[in-house]
Amino acid sequence: MDHKAPKFKESPSQTAGPYVHIGCTPNFSGIGKVWAEDLGARMKTGPVQGTEIEIRGIVYDGTGTPLRDAMVEIWQADAAGLFPSPGETRGDADPNFTGWGRAASHMDTGEFYFDTVKPGRVPFHDGRLQAPHISVWIVARGINVGLQTRIYFDDEEDANAEDPVLSALEHKVRLPTLIAKSQGKNSYRFNIRLQGEGETIFFDV
């Protein structure tokens, strides 16, 4: 067996800082001039398959104050459970769906927003099916390493009950922090609490 350590080590993270918008969402921050549209602003490039949904949320700090300088990214499968990525070997994903979205928190309210589709189910590393979910990555001033979490859905009770990640959680009392709440009309709310009561479950994955 080869037990050699990797030759190189991942570059250490540093905070995205308060001015992440300059580089990642310049048009959102009113200084667009170099390219026309911020990356990740549109997840649909044409008519998409499946159920179109919106997700809104706010990232709160440990005092309950909304972060007005966060940037949230999501990555997800299409409605059929396929990823629009070369690493997807199971089939061709919806050509009009990018799977990746990037949103800056509103600079006054702190709300972030994604216009996307309800993802299909995808297998875990061992082949068991996971419940429909969206991978989330959060950066901001004061966050030293991007935080990873997942959005699951409150109208997927049966799938959630057999999801390999959710069902392995020891502290079931924390599970609701991973569940987006339906607001009707295909709109969901997913708030993120960085610290304290109701702290969102973050993943090391």
């Binding site: 080869d2 990797p6 030759k7 190189f8 991942e10 570059s11 250490p12 993270s13 540093q14 905070t15 995205a16 800082g17 308060p18 001015y19 300059i22 580089g23 990642c24 009113g30 200084i31 001039k33 170099v34 390219w35 700090d61 440990g62 005092t63 972060l67 990214e73 990555w75 499968a77 629009p84 990525s85 070369p86 690493g87 070997t89 799977g99 297998p123 875990f124 590393h125 061992d126 082949g127 996971q130 991978s135 901001a140 001033r141 004061g142 966050i143 030293n144 390493v145 991007g146 390999p164 990640v165 960085l194 610290q195 702290e199 969102t200 479950i201 973050f202 993943f203 090391d204 994955v205």
Partner: protein, 245 residues
Amino acid sequence: MTKSPNPPGYMVRDRARHPKALTPSYKTSVVRSPERAMIAFPTSIGENTGPVFGHEMIGPNDNDLVINWAEPGQMALGPRIIVRGRVLDEHGNGVAGALLEFWQANAGGRYRHKKESYLAPLDPNFGGYGRTITDENGGYEFRTVQPGPYPWPNGMNDWRPAHIHFSLFGHAFAQRLITQMYFDGDPMIWQCPIVDTIDSKEAINSLVATLDMSQALPMDARVYTFDLVLRGQRQTFFENRWEGL
């Protein structure tokens, strides 16, 4: 045991080399740091894949911050530099097609941002952002002006060393990374509460670009070399099924 049809997952992130979440000398981290332990599980297809960015989306000036925000015929003010290097994975392989986004203060240490209040002036010809995609060997380069250091509200006398922010996409969402590049020889590196969130001096040094005068563009720009490393994949395809779970 069943053999997974999926490609191998990613090696676990070495958290000891990254900053901790709570780093009180960087004050903003105090209320923005999770207190509970993170939950670990192996990467699967949702983490092993990621968005793809094609070279065709990159405009001709996207990687030239000296002119990409300037009025026609004008250029940004400051010491002209080229930053170049490679994006590697933890096995040392170049990561082709990686998207790099970068942003920075101008030569006076001032950011073009509505929430920035430092008294140093804006440069009307400098936006402070750009992007590029690595070539088949993981190589990248961009031209800019060396950013200035600046004071920031933390302690009353805290200054950031000159730095450029980097955002990186490799081939997988598991590799997503944001970090900062510093400049060799800058004494402010070792006085910065944000740099100090990293415990290992070796790890800090991996974020310090080195001057390479042999590559300097005559009568134009000096060259700083800066390599970045993203997480690597495991090298075995075997996956153990968790019987009974």
